[in-house]
Symmetry: C2
């Protein structure tokens, strides 16, 4: 299953890019410890030695992939709230866009949770970019404004953001468990998540009214 084709900038078609595509697939699925250089090489239809020729070590290759995944993941969260429209529109658009992205890339949030949580050092390394974008501040201002207009009750920005993300992401990363629990098959579960785009926006809007 191809998870995602968005691979860095620099990479021209050729072995270097093939490696990145294969590595991303394998690391996403298996994590650092579970991934094997041999499997990446096989998937890229190349020799194992070439991986080291281009990227020196497993660790170095991994870091490239982590950066790629983080760069792709975080911008999606942001920049939805600075468009036009009512608060309800923005929230509706957020869930639609974000859950849509997660459905296309289910392994991405799981990877970030599982891997970054166990190697918090890496966070600091790759997190400066998104951090600086000032989303928190921007969101705070939006909330203030909506409260003034009476479109919502006052809610701490942290709570607003946490709930927004929790409701979107958790059903994706816990899919196997929740599937089992709710006795759904794969198709049914994905339909459920698809409905959540709408349904969760409604849920959220009611909660902040």
């Amino acid at each position: 299953m191809v998870q995602n084709k968005k691979i860095p900038d620099s990479a021209q078609p050729g072995p270097e890019k093939q490696i990145l595509i294969a590595a991303k697939e394998v690391f996403l699925e298996k994590g650092f410890d579970g991934a094997r250089m041999q499997e990446i090489a096989d998937k890229a239809a190349l020799n194992k030695a070439l991986l080291h020729y281009y990227y020196r070590s497993k660790e170095k290759l991994y870091r490239v992939i982590v950066k790629d995944i983080m760069d792709q993941f975080f911008p999606v969260v942001f920049g939805v709230f600075d468009e036009t429209g009512s608060l309800s529109d923005k929230i509706t658009r957020f869930f639609d866009l974000y859950i849509g992205f997660l459905l296309d890339n289910p392994l991405v949030p799981q990877f970030i949770i599982a891997e970054i949580v166990r190697k918090p050092e890496m966070l600091m390394e790759f997190f400066s970019g998104p951090m600086e974008s000032g989303v928190i501040l921007q969101l705070s201002e939006l909330i203030d404004e909506c409260v003034r207009k009476g479109e919502m009750r006052p809610i701490p920005t942290e709570e607003f953001l946490m709930n927004l993300i929790s409701l979107s992401v958790f059903p994706i990363i816990a899919k196997p468990i929740l599937m089992n629990f709710l006795e759904k098959d794969d198709k049914e579960y994905n339909e459920l998540i698809n409905e959540r785009k709408r349904v969760t926006a409604d849920f959220f809007i009611r909660a902040i009214k």
Copy 2:
């Protein structure tokens, strides 16, 4: 950091139990691939060979720990809704209890997500117990009743349950990322989660009204 002392039934104080306690700590923190038998032995202050004497293989030891973790985790989710009180009381009690448990055992949900998601076979193996308890059915009936009484709007059981769990669990498993994102230190973040016991119950109750 001792995560949790609740270790199976059978285990008397002695090497067998020491191994389980150490193994649980290491597997919780590192996962199967990341865990080292040597580290478990060191932590249990025993020889590596003894691990194999008692549990034959890393895999076998791991299965014992997984079962222990699952057995301890799932009952907490259940059995909160069959007590007395109004719907609001039940929801408030749920978040209080569940988030409290998660704060005491932050690695447990992360472990279940990270490990079980990558070895779905294991789910089937250990999931029969909780599955059979009929929580879904029970919750459906509660919702029906509350809708009849006008205490809440009609909501699919799946949605109700997913949102309940998402709002509780996600902020715990994504702690390192959210901490960074919200620019909180460890203490501040835990306080935030503690407030969520109350605050999230309120959020949820508003959403289903």
